[in-house]
């Protein structure tokens, strides 16, 4: 299978500081890939290397089959930078036309696309407004439109929702969903974990410029989970038998908790308790959230 992005031991030093130390990852075609890590972990530096904005100190990578910095490949790439600063003396239409011209889009196609995108990001009523007068959220929306002008095969979104209100966030989520339906690969840099949890197929955790682990979010959902049970009359023998399905079994008054290796075991646990005459009042599965996983993998330091 050919990968949209594949990197081998990418490294970037700025003087004595290492921003990215050993980045090896693969992103498949059509995947929505989340790139997670604390602030300063090297996420933006990694994206900039993949876009050819900065050149790596060592290592190699291919993006859309082309080596880093290949300007032809960029014809099929869209990019929303983290600090979306644009030529703010342009109106939204002028701004999109400028960037469409840089993609060398034919005039008619460009006009159509500009109108389409302004509607998509909900700025169709602000076509002649100067970007200078835009709010942060509007800037982000127009930046997103800019990143999609060329119907890219690969889109880099660096913190696309950080300036948006809940409505804007949902919009971005929907756009990402549509992109992935159309087979576009989305590379999402974010520290807003709930966003990533909803939108991404796969996530990589990065710390100090190194990928710690890559997880499919499907595994996360289907993986182990902790169950909190409120029950009375729990006897030691019943408790002991629970170890057949789970571990970390704890009983604290009425509160019983245990970790199951899979959700599929849950009915058996409940049946076991009930059949042994135990009064069960509540069963609450505590799914491991992305945030829990993040803390587990990356640790609580960082973000400095």
């Amino acid at each position: 299978m050919s990968h949209t992005i594949s990197t081998q031991a990418l490294r970037k030093d700025f003087g004595e500081n290492t921003a990215v130390s050993n980045l090896t990852l693969e992103v498949g075609r059509g995947e929505v890939f989340g790139f997670l890590g604390p602030n300063g972990a090297g996420k933006t530096t990694a994206v900039k290397m993949l876009l050819g904005l900065i050149s790596p100190t060592a290592g190699s990578a291919k993006v859309l089959g082309a080596p880093l910095g290949d300007h032809h490949a960029r014809a099929k790439i869209g990019f929303l930078p983290e600090h979306f600063r644009f030529h703010d003396w342009l109106s939204s239409v002028e701004f999109l036309r400028l960037h469409g011209n840089l993609y060398q889009m034919p005039a008619q196609l460009l006009d159509r696309r500009v109108a389409e995108l302004l509607e998509l990001v909900g700025l169709e009523n602000h076509t002649n407004k100067k970007l200078r007068t835009f709010s942060k959220g509007m800037m982000q929306r127009i930046g997103l439109a800019q990143a999609l002008l060329n119907k890219p095969d690969l889109v880099f979104l660096d913190e696309p929702t950080s300036g948006l209100d809940p409505v804007g966030r949902r919009l971005v989520r929907d756009i990402i969903h549509d992109l992935s339906e159309e087979g576009t690969t989305v590379f999402l840099n974010s520290h807003l974990l709930s966003e990533v949890e909803i939108t991404c197929d796969r996530v990589a955790f990065i710390r100090q410029g190194e990928v710690l682990t890559t997880n499919s979010l499907k595994n996360l959902v289907e993986g182990e989970l902790t169950v909190e049970i409120r029950a009375r009359n729990v006897t030691p023998s019943v408790l002991e038998e629970l170890s057949r399905w789970g571990e970390n079994i704890r009983l604290d008054g009425e509160h019983l908790s245990l970790t199951l290796s899979s959700e599929a075991d849950m009915p058996q646990v409940i049946r076991h308790l009930v059949e042994n005459g135990i009064d069960v009042y509540a069963v609450k599965p505590q799914q491991l959230s992305l945030e829990d996983l993040f803390i587990q993998v990356v640790g609580t330091e960082g973000g400095l």
């Binding site: 904005l53 300007h71 990019f79 930078p81 600063r85 400028l98 011209n101 840089l102 060398q104």
Partner: protein
């Protein structure tokens, strides 16, 4: 053509700046003052009873014309530097460069596009100011200085040369550092030029050498001196000294050096910007 897209963007961005507006207003103010001043001086010397002959009249007119061109040269150079000094460094700092560089174009196209945009704007400004001066002098007195096109070409080269230096500096330095660098170099050339002028007048070889070395460092003053030499009346050059004319006229080799310098400055800007992490 992606280069032209960038050139157009640069031209529009430069044109909407307050610096250019100020330069235009100052330029128009200069033309107005110059026209009025020239009119009265010309009237006075032409009507003088024991007045000078046509030859001497034209000396004075040429002298006044050169004074005007001196101002035009200075204004154009100042605009060249002030408008372009932050075009790369500023876009790098603000991050607007990120969306440009990530498009399917090569970095040299951005530099050349910017260069073209500024060069276009400078050409128009120079044409307006120098053309205005030439026209005023002609309309008021009927006098035209010799070799005006050659002189204008050299003034244009001067502005383009400083534009290249300012782009090259902006590819690696912060806006402030770049401004200090370019104006500093311009200042050195200016002072060096005068030392050479005086050295040549009192025939001091060391002073002349100092001037030549500073011209090699940046030949902007030399280009102005050559332009002034081209446009001065032949009599002034044989008689010798006026503040605007050079007793040691920069050679043709220096002009060619200036041309190569301007091209190398642009190539250096491209090279530095290519290597820069953004």
């Amino acid at each position: 053509m992606t280069i032209l897209v960038i050139a157009r963007l640069t031209f529009r961005e430069a044109a909407r700046r307050k610096i250019l507006l100020a330069a235009l207003l100052l330029g128009l103010l200069y033309l107005a003052i110059y026209g009025v001043g020239f009119y009265f001086v010309n009237q006075d010397i032409s009507n003088s009873q024991f007045g000078p002959g046509l030859l001497e009249l034209n000396q004075i007119r040429n002298f006044l014309f050169m004074a005007g061109m001196y101002v035009v040269n200075f204004l154009t150079v100042a605009i060249a530097v002030l408008t372009s000094v932050d075009t790369l460094s500023g876009e790098i700092t603000s991050g607007t460069i990120h969306t440009l560089v990530s498009k399917p174009l090569q970095r040299w196209q951005i530099v050349v596009g910017k260069w073209l945009g500024f060069a276009g704007m400078l050409s128009l400004y120079l044409l307006l100011m120098a053309g205005g001066t030439v026209l005023l002098v002609y309309l008021i007195s009927g006098y035209t200085a010799p070799n005006i096109m050659r002189g204008l070409g050299l003034l244009w080269m001067n502005a383009i040369l400083l534009l290249g230096v300012s782009l090259a500096g902006g590819a690696v330095l912060s806006t402030l550092a770049n401004g200090v660098l370019v104006f500093g170099m311009f200042g050195i050339a200016f002072v060096g030029g005068w030392i050479e002028q005086i050295g040549s007048f009192i025939q001091n070889q060391t002073a002349i050498d100092v001037g030549i070395i500073s011209s090699l460092l940046i030949p902007s003053e030399a280009l102005w001196k050559r332009a002034a030499f081209e446009m001065q009346s032949p009599l002034v050059s044989t008689l010798g000294f006026s503040p605007f004319t050079a007793s040691s006229m920069p050679s043709l080799v220096m002009v060619i050096y200036g041309m190569i310098y301007a091209i190398l400055a642009l190539l250096l800007a491209i090279r530095l910007f290519n290597k820069r992490d953004l």
